[in-house]
């Protein structure tokens, strides 16, 4: 039996980073995710795996440290919460524009502005659609448990290096603070210099005689070059949409009604589905595990099967736009959400569901 340990989602991120051979973590404290750096500093991985952990002077710096580390072909990551992610958006755009791999964890809190330190899902649009300037996408993974937090670090780096693209783990205050049992997967050592040369031949590892110099840049003043690069990114995003969509379904086989929810909301919707099923209402749930790429084909298929879809989110209605696009008029699409750090209960969702569907 693999070892299981009780820990917070945020701690799982830190433990997973060390056990999965991450080379560097750069961060700046912000609630509700400060435990990530605190755990790393307590564990002192520089004495064991050689992992670098550094508290930067701001999120602007931490993401640019990630930019520099990723340029060297290293597995580097950062974590923050909503206001910090806003500051990182410039750097994320450069990282996407330079086609660099990295993992960024956003443990969302309510906004706008300084907002609240309570959980929220109101950075969906920012993280899934872009956030910084220019035409780009991060791959976005939505964990719903402490185990997901642990597992998505490794999965995130796998995707990031496969596509040379930044990956955002889009969590929320609940998943970050929740204490759950986490299974520790087998340890992966840090990559050796030789392995880095093999997986990242583009990296700034120092130019030996006999190879062209490696230049990490997002700049091209020539319009045709830039357009061709944009088209190359588009082709990459199409390939990601084709190959990397992940979702899970609950009671959808015979469902007449569908919830779509991600992260902590999906767990609450699962309980709401159970309540409705007990009352004889055939509800089901689709949980997108990847938000970019979005499970649009599966939602389109289910939209042809069910009488209606409700998107349930801790925001004013952000993902619902993508659900509507995917359903494309095949069935009505509704929304229910709470904001400001208030979290809905399963009963509340079941009630709103019945209101929307005119059911008793």
């Amino acid at each position: 039996m693999a070892e299981k340990i009780l820990m917070k989602g945020n701690e799982a991120i830190a433990v997973s980073a060390i056990r999965n051979g991450v080379d560097g973590y750069f961060g700046y404290p912000i609630t509700p995710q400060s435990e990530v750096m605190e755990t790393l500093m307590k564990e002192k991985p520089w004495e064991t795996t050689g992992m670098v952990v550094l508290q930067a002077e701001s999120e602007v710096s931490s993401i640019n440290m990630v930019y520099g580390g990723a340029s060297c072909g290293k597995k580097v990551m950062t974590s923050s919460s909503s206001p910090g992610i806003s500051l990182m958006c410039e750097g994320i755009s450069y990282i996407a524009g330079s086609e660099l791999p990295c993992v960024i964890v956003n443990v969302m809190r309510g906004g706008p502005g300084l907002g609240t330190i309570q959980p929220s899902q109101s950075d969906y649009t920012q993280c899934v659609k872009g956030g910084g300037h220019g035409d780009y996408h991060c791959m976005v993974l939505a964990p719903a448990s402490a185990q997901d937090m642990y597992d998505f670090v490794d999965w995130g780096f796998e995707l990031a290096f496969k596509y040379r693209n930044p990956v955002i783990v889009l969590a929320d205050g609940i998943i970050g603070q929740l204490m759950e049992k986490v299974e520790l997967r087998p340890v992966k050592p840090r990559r050796t210099e030789e392995e880095i040369l093999r997986v990242a031949p583009w990296a700034t590892t120092g130019k030996p005689a006999g190879r062209e110099r490696n230049i990490i840049t997002s700049l091209s003043l020539d319009s045709t070059t830039q357009e061709n690069f944009n088209k190359k990114l588009l082709a990459k995003y199409e390939s990601i949409k084709e190959n990397e969509v992940r979702f899970s379904e609950y009671m959808t086989d015979d469902a007449e009604y569908l919830f779509v929810a991600f992260g902590c909301s999906s767990r609450i919707c699962e309980a709401a589905t159970d309540i409705l099923r007990q009352e004889g209402i055939k509800a089901g749930l689709l949980r997108p595990i990847t938000l970019f790429p979005f499970p649009e084909k599966e939602i389109a298929r289910l939209a042809g099967q069910v009488k209606s879809i409700m998107s349930i989110e801790l925001n004013l209605g952000q993902m619902v736009e993508d659900v509507r696009l995917a359903a494309n008029g095949r069935c009505p699409v509704g929304f229910y959400g709470r904001q400001g750090g208030i979290v809905f209960t399963p009963e509340e969702i079941a009630g709103e569901f019945k209101k929307f569907n005119n059911l008793k």
Binding site: E57, V60, N64, Y67, S71, T204, T205, G206, T217
Partner: protein, 259 residues
């Protein structure tokens, strides 16, 4: 001596450093950037560290530095080069890591990044090109623009009441414990360029001693931005810039002193 004679190996007195590429430089004639590039290339070549050096270029006229020096490069966002360099050096401690930054890049938008890289004592080299102006964007006021100096955003001259005072960031950084070597040089004469090159070499050497950050300011000309000929620009720099930004070493912490 005819042309053929001049080209004979025994008669060569000057050649392009091997690490300067054949790309046509986009710098204006008379601009200091090209000279400083050449000095850096010579230092890397003479130290034999081409395969161990990573340069971080800024946003500014030298954004394309990576086209000219034949080493691995990262192109940073405006002002952020010290953050990239921090991670690069910490993750690859055997590398020589340097940033190359203008005054707008380093002393305005990137103030936080340079101060904290210095304060943490990152073992990197920073080459700071202070030409008192934003060259790349067409000659706007920089934090280092002198009082009374005309730029496109101070068309009547920099007025302290309106625009604040010129920032002597180099002196500020010398006050930080994490800096090992702080110097101010220029490249307007062959003698000055030789001194600047020695300073750059010292910076590179210090960066492998683990004693902190080396910072080499080069008071530079931007003849296009200053709207002066290359010769007049040098003269104006000597008479005006050097008065505010005097040349020479500001701080040199030897290993012995550190210990």
């Amino acid at each position: 001596m005819d042309t053929l004679d001049i080209k004979r190996p025994e008669n060569i007195v000057y050649r392009k450093p091997a690490l300067i590429t054949d790309n046509v430089m986009h710098y204006c004639p008379g601009c200091s950037h090209g000279t400083v590039h050449k000095l850096i290339a010579e230092v890397i070549e003479e130290m034999g560290i081409q395969d161990k050096t990573v340069g971080i270029s800024p946003v500014g006229c030298s954004v394309f530095a990576y086209n000219y020096i034949d080493i691995d490069w990262q192109e940073a966002a405006h002002g952020r080069a010290p953050a990239l360099a921090t991670a690069t050096k910490r993750l690859c401690p055997d590398k020589y890591v340097f940033t190359y930054q203008g005054d707008g890049d380093l002393a305005s938008i990137g103030t936080a990044e340079i101060i904290h890289a210095c304060s943490r004592g990152e073992n990197i080299v920073v080459i700071f090109i202070n030409n008192g102006i934003y060259g790349m964007t067409g000659g706007q006021m920089a934090p280092t623009t002198l009082l009374g100096m005309k730029t496109s955003t101070t068309p009547y001259g920099r007025d302290a009441k309106l625009n604040g005072f010129p920032l002597k960031i180099t002196e500020m950084l010398a006050a930080l414990d994490g800096t090992a070597y702080i110097t101010r040089q220029s490249v307007h004469t062959a003698a000055a360029a030789r001194k600047a090159k020695n300073a750059i070499r010292k910076g590179f050497e210090y960066s492998h001693l683990g004693i902190g950050l080396s910072f080499i300011e080069i008071v530079s000309t931007c003849n296009s931005g200053w709207k002066l000929s290359p010769v007049e620009a040098n003269k104006w720099m000597v008479e005006n810039m050097f008065a505010k930004y005097p040349l020479g070493d500001i701080k040199d912490t030897s290993i012995a002193e550190k210990k």
